[in-house]
Symmetry: C2
Subunit: 159 residues, 2 copies
DNA sequence: CATTTTCAGTTGCAATTTGAAACTGATATG
DNA sequence: CATATCAGTTTCAAATTGCAACTGAAAATG
């Protein structure tokens, strides 16, 4: 995995590339908030448990936007707000979140309750990821909102 | 995904937990170096393309060790060196690297050449991950060394 | 319509982290 | 014995982080 360094990247490695863009404490948490909690505005991200600072949030949102992972658009109902949404490239990060989540849940079981619902899902990983992806793409999320993934699963398999 | 904060973690979320431990530019690159390039010593990590600084490397190695992701042991052939190796928990990070790699390769195609070999592998992802895992566990790596994964694949499927 | 509140984002500043380079002490090599 | 190599430390400047106060615009309230 040793190569020359043609662009401004520190290497040619795809893992290094991803980490250069997303390798910090906060960027992927914002993606998580969109996918799992259906968050879409500055204030919603700011209110997350982890307590990101306002200036850091501003910085990360603009970085994510400039790298094409999220888009920023005026909020239709409130001109003070903007709407942050995932691009296709942002949705592509779902498998990364999935594996980070699996690792975290395995190595700190106290965090596993968060996704205990997963144990009940009779669906393979790829299909579930696709379902989440489609749901988020059409404005929904895993946990929050009327068309959430968990509510869809409840309907399909009551109990 | 909003919960109380019982320990010293910033939240109960498994994704946040993983990012708190591994969410930086360097930690996962060290894991990558072990798995893909078969690196095992301070000097080998230091020589990677990305150019980590010595003090940061020292810091990350000791963090990874204290979180149980790698072990440190005396080098059998050279008493100046230590051997850094993955624990089972460290090997569990392979799927995370896999997905980071897939995302990076997709969104910066120039980095994809690094794993062009993947296209030729007639094996599903889970099996390939298991093969890599077993190989690394027994001292090998994906690219480097005599028992490397790519050499194993070459034998199985010449051409 | 005037006042207050809410909102996203900025600014200022202290504390922490990073990164580069020189240095150290132990071990290996010739 | 002399020199080179190794992992790791130290030093210090620069960048990043995190917190709190602040700003200006828009919404809500009375």
């Amino acid at each position: 995995m040793q190569h020359s360094n043609p662009h401004n990247r520190r290497s040619n490695c795809p893992i290094s590339f991803s980490l250069e863009l997303l390798g910090d404490s906060w960027s992927l948490l914002i993606i998580r908030d969109i996918i799992f909690a259906g968050k879409k505005t500055f204030g919603e991200f700011l209110a997350s448990d982890e307590g990101i600072a306002r200036n850091i949030l501003t910085n990360r949102l603009s970085r994510l936007e400039s790298m094409g992972v999220i888009t920023k658009s005026p909020h239709p109902d409130d001109r003070r707000k903007d709407l942050y949404q995932l691009t296709e490239g942002g949705l592509d990060l779902l498998p990364v979140l999935w594996e980070l989540s699996a690792w975290g849940a395995k190595h700190e079981p106290a965090t596993a309750e968060t996704l205990a619902w997963l144990a009940d899902v009779q669906m393979n990983k790829d299909h579930l990821i696709q379902l989440i992806r489609d749901t988020v793409k059409s404005g929904g999320s895993v946990f929050a909102g009327p068309g959430s993934v968990i509510s869809q699963l409840d309907q399909e398999q009551p109990q």
